[in-house]
Subunit: 339 residues, 4 copies
């Protein structure tokens, strides 16, 4: 295969981001159709501007199109497992945004369908493709610092989402920290076997209405004996604070935030530098491109995708365990929720 | 009082450090005598070089000396409560290295004695006096960032102590993280009410022989709803890694390590900067002086000491709770161990 | 005008860079033709991949095309003045790479042609559009630091060009430091009236063969009384070192280099960070896009271009003065060479 | 010799600083007497507090004291050559603050006296002993970066001195940049053979009254073909800006300022770090101690001092050349003023 013909499922913010990247920056990718039940004139115009004229409200048009090799699932989480099953049944490769699903049963069904169909499934854990986090990973994985002891992930959003989003988000662990669970697994090179969660509400009272917290710390135990910790906040205010530290036998590798610029202003009042880039679109812009490049290349070359269905399932299980830990104020083994 | 005449109890490494500081750098302090049961010629020579010629093996000489206003307790932990009681009984003000004691009963007895005698008792939580951590505290305490949400303390020693030390250290929580429990209380301005500890052995097998871990992460719940986390390692290898972050309503204040120097070497192989200063003597050198200055000033001015017996007791209780949490793999309320 | 139809003159490295940007990232731009006397199959294929099928060896095809609104002059320096004159005569707006020309006479002729034709002429001083340098400029221009006293520009290439390039480059001042002369003018907001140059050969012996230096420092006097300094090296080895400092009444604003990533590795051997991005394509990638966006917007909106023919001429004059200063080892007024 | 008995000549700010260091922090040093024509009760009390009870108004008391091995010359510049001659005649080793003198004739006479007497003479170029600048030097001197191409010294005071000081200071080159000329020589490991100076008045009008500038840039040519540049400001406002960069065959070594603390405050308004330490007493505190330790050790061990009379003379000659260059707006060879 020299070109991967792609259909986009869901054409909201993240769908359009992927569509733009596929069109401009991903060698071998050709976006040929988009489907979204809420498709409007604006969406059609956007698709047209990318040279895509097949725009549908019914996603079946994508699954049924014989000239489409792969789909990008950028629709609401509730649709993910069903779309995965239908894409697999149609023999199409699948790129799916996180989380892969909200219940273990539907996730297992989807993974079974993928396995049976022999198609590729890549999960959108975009942070693995960030230049900073990837560098940390590569140093750890090289083994030159020896074995990992402690993995720390700091992940703080600049501002809370609107209440309507919180209501359907699935909670901080499934919606937000799921990225960090994957990051911790990625950095450790070992499975998380137990978690213990602390949470609090400090940002906005509406989180509590949905049995959610807006600030959380979760400790991790890894299979290989390493331990870790993740802290999340829904509103850091100064920008998107995304940092990883891995402490090993021979030392530490950590990363800092990308900054808006590298300026420094020195006056009698102090020295001022720029803030981190604002949010995920700014910070992970190139990472979104990189994950799509890898997905398309894996299809063309017939190689493995870099983040697969197992990764997608594990992150969900860990999020479930973290929520249970917070609710019951006790450490919870991941195996407890994998039933 | 214009001058505080001081007797030193214990004249090992930390005793000599304080003795040097009191002689050279603390206005109003006059070190007049030292006592150590292992006093040898070398110790006497060191004392003499500081202008101190009253050197004893029997600490009673210090307690009985009517011209001594205050004592520095720099002897092994096991002696702390008894020495506090005896100093208090003799009407002498007390500076005591951490921890204040190893059992709750003896701590309570010591604090009672101090209270009854009306003397001052300052605990040696030296890190509160570090320019970096103090700046973080002052920013948080100023309220300009609003309420604290999350307190993070990273505290990593450069290399593990010898096995003989580990055998009698009291374990990582009582020996090492006790400083960080105090730091967390200091930064949060709120009591710690519950802890949850994870630990592992990655540095040296001998820790396990003493039912100890060499790597630990402890989550904290504060009375005011904030949460926190501390991570400790007995061997970071690259130097003494001592960092604090406090995340608040309006942003974050954090500190970095003091570095050996501010050089930067750029070549085709990369950009190299200096490491953190090696260990506590290098990093907290000025802080040791500052805490003694404050202690002596509090005596002269009749004001409160900056770190008191309550602070000493709380840190011990939290360390006990952390050990219990690690042993039982469950969150432990500090009130559980305060019986 | 809603769309600017562009013809590219010169289709080497820089031409293809602009062509890619115009096609993918510049709203309102439409690249419709390219011309290069050395046009080969590879160049045609590249143009085709951007959707451009009008590929010529004869630049006259561009000047004569009635549907072309503007040209990008990306051909060798020797052609710049002639191409400017011909584009102006054809009523086309002009984006011209630096330098505008190599002799004062031809520059004056070209500027006269532009003025007479009433077309826009923008010079490719791309660094003005870099996020870091622009931030420095904006802080200075805001006046919040008061008046500028000293402007310092550090500009060091990672590696020397091939000898063949050096032979025809015009020398370090005209080829390389010309960017920094423009940067100094941009930051100071004042004309340079005198320069004094020191140079040396430390990098590669072949520079001396062409009466050129590979390392140079030039001091600047500005009309407003500020002074400045630029240092250039043809081979910094660790990457592209591009930094600006402006010292003002109330303090300093400076910038640092963009780094390959924000990682930090700490071991007993030291702390290692990443190097600056490699060269101008990496560092000024977004700046190349930004300058084209501004050029196209100026045409569509009928506003002034941000860097004009006067800026192009001044940078050349300053480079001439610097060369004369180096040759004669004396300060040279810019007015001396503007005859 | 096991102990060096020292007499202090001049007991103002810098004299008291050295006196305190000699008493507290310099092994083998014993300050035994001070002399200052303006000696008052306060000065005597200060000396007494250091255990020094021999306090004189007449410096002859120092030169005549047979038990004094060495002198520290901390008196006004005008007295330096005479005091050097008298100390040398008395067979005393000499530590002399910069500059060694103001005229070439008196400097030569003083150096001749030192040579004849066979005593040691160390100049107070304290910055060579700063941990940051010394690290830069050591990296360059190690040769691991290859040959030096460019030496850059940025040296900016936080605030201008009072007008009365400016009136007698000898001007910016002799009073302030003299330190940087020495730093440039120290870093380059090669003599400066020519300078070119630009200066301006931007800070305070009173400098112009004394034929002085408050802002200056000086380019340097070294004997070994390297070139360099120094920039000075009398008022950086944000603190003492003291940075050095040396660019070599294989890369660059540079240093940053010591900061008041390592804190970082991140809010929606920006990220704020601390300023450089305020001025030379804060920045070079440990360097003052280090230079005295080296001086005393050289006497005790009979080894060479690290900064000698030649260094003192060269810095003065370069300052003279820089002033001549500024006055005549032309490059001046150092040999021109060494007559």
């Amino acid at each position: 295969m020299k070109e991967v013909r792609i259909g986009m499922l869901g054409f909201g913010r993240i769908g359009r981001l992927h569509a733009t990247n596929l069109t401009r920056s991903v060698p071998g990718a050709k976006l040929v159709a988009v489907a979204d039940p809420y498709l409007n004139d604006d969406a059609v115009a956007f698709a047209n501007s990318l040279g895509v004229d097949r725009c549908f409200k019914d996603e079946a048009e994508i699954f049924n199109a014989s000239d489409i090799d792969a789909v990008f699932i950028c629709s609401p989480t509730g649709t993910h497992p069903d779309f995965i099953c239908r894409a697999a049944a149609a023999g199409k490769h699948i790129f799916c945004e996180k989380p892969i699903g909200l219940t273990l049963e539907e996730i297992n069904t989807a993974l079974e369908a993928v396995k049976k169909a022999g198609v590729k499934l890549q999960l959108g854990f975009v942070r693995r493709f960030d230049h900073n986090h990837k560098k940390v990973h590569d140093v750890v994985a090289s083994g030159k610092l020896g074995e990992a002891h402690v993995i720390k992930v700091c992940s703080r959003d600049p501002e809370e989402p609107p209440e309507a989003y919180v209501a359907v988000s699935g909670g901080i662990f499934m919606d937000m920290m799921i990225h960090d669970f994957d990051m911790a697994r990625y950095q450790a090179g070992s499975e998380i076997v137990e978690v213990m969660a602390y949470g609090t509400n400090k940002i906005n009272p509406f989180f509590a209405k949905y049995d959610d917290v807006d600030t959380a710390i979760v400790m991790l135990k890894f299979e290989n004996g390493a331990i870790g910790v993740i802290d999340n906040s829904r509103a850091a205010r100064y920008g998107y604070d995304q940092r990883v530290e891995v402490h090993c036998d021979k030392g530490c590798v950590q990363d800092g935030n990308d900054l808006i610029d590298m300026s420094m202003i020195s006056t009698a009042d102090g020295v001022t530098c720029e803030k981190p880039t604002w949010f995920f679109l700014e910070r992970y812009n190139n990472a979104f491109i990189a994950e799509s490049i890898d997905f398309v290349r894996a299809i063309i070359d017939g190689t493995d995708v870099p983040v697969d269905g197992h990764d997608g399932k594990m992150a969900v299980l860990i999020a479930m365990a973290a929520k249970k830990s917070l609710d019951e104020n006790r450490p919870v083994k991941v195996s407890e929720v994998d039933v």
